[in-house]
């Protein structure tokens, strides 16, 4: 296709010309252009649909099952069934929304760290950032007798403090991927032990609260949680997403990135702060939800078969995984409610074993 960007009418999709492969679509509008791999586009569309489907299921399913008609009726202003209204408005909708937000945050954070460290194991739940957030919250609950807001604040602080310690320890004239992973695993294990110790030494009530928090749960999600997390994500997600191409370029190494006109150190700092903030906010909102940050980017990459650091696919995959895990957590042994972190942890554990087995067979 030889049409220039100016001549192409608004919103058309043009294909790369003959001789070039047709793996990409270029979306153009008034001199602007967006290049997407065809397969990535369809995978994203499918994940969006899955996300919508799971979200709907999340609204319908429960001990007070609702029909699609009832839910739609409620969402569009038919308030004849107050009980349905209560379940949709106060219970299920905030829960579904928080699952999506937290999943997206974890997915993006995982992709950022895996790309920067050049290692699938470089994700925040493996290198101790999630555990560090948990330590912050557990300290608040057990030592300072704090409520949910205090625990969330502790999680934020704990996440940032852990990231700082891991980075300082792993820093030796630049941060190498493997060193970051190894130092992070070490710190994570120590913090995990500290968390266990804190819970073991706590009073029964505090220990129970802490244990519940540590399982990572979306039970009893409130609109204020949704509001806080959305406010943080409105700031953080665009910060990460606009750096998608830069992150992709940085996977070639610092020297190559610098040669392409990137200031690697500065970009890495922004991306790391952004990634830590995302995982800390997610953990603050609902406790540590295991393995999403590890699995979402990897699964998205396998589906899109893209070599780039796809942040949006990772976000969508994260949202699907948390939503799906939460529905399983609610319905698997209903009326007993599992914590979403237990389900995602189990699924993620299986995935991690598979991933390691694959890595091994490649060596």
């Amino acid at each position: 296709m030889s049409a220039s960007s100016k001549a192409t009418p608004v919103g058309t999709v043009s294909h790369p010309g003959q001789g070039r492969s047709r793996r990409h679509v270029v979306l153009r509008a008034s001199g602007r252009s967006l290049k997407v791999e065809r397969r990535t586009l369809s995978v994203c569309a499918v994940m969006l649909a899955v996300c919508a489907g799971l979200g709907t299921a999340g609204l319908l399913l429960g001990d007070y099952p609702l029909t699609v008609r009832q839910v739609i009726g409620y969402l569009f202003g038919d308030h004849t069934d107050p009980l349905a209204g209560f379940f949709v408005r106060e219970q299920r909708l905030p829960r579904v929304l928080l699952a999506v937000l937290v999943g997206a945050a974890l997915g993006v954070s995982g992709q950022v760290f895996q790309s920067l460290s050049g290692n699938p194991l470089g994700s925040p739940d493996i290198i101790g950032f999630t555990t560090g957030s948990a330590t912050g919250a557990v300290l608040q609950i057990i030592v300072f007798d704090a409520g949910p807001a205090g625990a969330a604040g502790g999680a934020l602080l704990g996440g940032f403090a852990t990231a700082l310690v891991v980075y300082l320890l792993a820093h030796r004239g630049g941060v190498s991927g493997l060193r970051l992973v190894l130092v992070g695993i070490g710190i994570g294990l120590m913090l995990g032990a500290l968390n266990t110790l804190l819970v073991a030494r706590a009073s029964l009530v505090a220990a129970q609260t802490a244990a519940q928090w540590l399982a990572g749960s979306l039970n009893a999600t409130t609109w204020s949680q949704v509001g806080l997390v959305s406010a943080a994500l409105v700031l953080l997600l665009p910060m990460a997403l606009v750096r998608g191409r830069t992150l992709t370029a940085m996977t070639l190494g610092d020297a190559s990135a610098a040669a392409l006109g990137i200031r690697p150190e500065r970009q890495r700092l922004v991306l790391v702060v952004c990634g830590v903030a995302l995982v800390a906010v997610a953990t603050a909102a609902c406790g540590p939800i295991a393995f999403i940050a590890l699995a979402a980017p990897q699964l998205a990459r396998r589906l899109t078969r893209s070599s780039g650091a796809g942040l949006l696919p990772a976000a969508l995959m994260g949202a699907c995984l948390v939503l799906g895990s939460d529905i399983l957590a609610q319905r698997l042994f209903a009326p007993t409610q599992l914590a979403v972190g237990v389900v995602s942890g189990t699924l993620g554990g299986i995935y991690l074993i598979w991933l390691l087995a694959m890595e091994r067979s490649r060596l």
Binding site: S2, S33, A255, A259, L260, G261, S307, G308
Partner: protein, 274 residues
Amino acid sequence: MTAAEMPTHQARLAARRLSVGYDSRKVLDGIAVEIPNNTFSVIVGPNACGKSTLVKALARVLRIQSGEVLLDGSPLSQYTPKEVARRLGMLPQAPHVPDGILVEDLVARGRYPHQGLFRQWSQEDADAVDTALRRARVEQLRDRLLTELSGGQRQRVWIAMALAQMTPLLLLDEPTTFLDISHQVEVLNLCRRLQREGTTVVAVLHDLNLAFRYADHVIVMRSGGIVAQGPPREVISAELIEKVFDLSCRIIEDPETGTPLVIPQNPDTAAKGS
């Protein structure tokens, strides 16, 4: 700036009193270098003499401690990083290969400095990638995985990525290391061809004889300083090689090209002779 320190106007890239170091160790100590326009310049010198550091400093990949690098007459610090990347491409020694990347996608990454958040792909980008693939003679590999290529093919693909930047200057850090002789010649022929097509090429090379054969301009380095620079036939002598590499040798004319050929002395005959 005095007249003597002004770069000659045919130097696209020049360094003045350039010092670069890691932590407290100075790798380059107050050196002056000029890369004449539209030449194939080659940097040679023993291991750890600062060749790679010089290339990185010239490309602003490394921060300089003092002195300055002039790109087309202006200090590098006056350009934004993307402006530098639109004038000067640099291929580092061991770039990291992303998992499962196709040749075409890697080469397209060279377009980064010409793109923006809302200007991700234009006809110009597509043409630049095509041109780069053609110039590096890797068009037929465009849909292949980088990991399944031979070392020589892979190196040409990396060069194609730098070419997609469409810069008048191209810096290559040891592009022939780890390649066998035929692939080395292949890469050097490519460099020569690029220079003839108007690109100013700078490369760090280890093989002296190939370096002197291909270079228009040679920069000889030793322990962080420049020992000689100029056309190989004018500057290369047995004394220079002995001083720089600590190697007794003879220089003869390359029977193919008439360029200097370094023949290390046979230690047995040297012992008999003395």
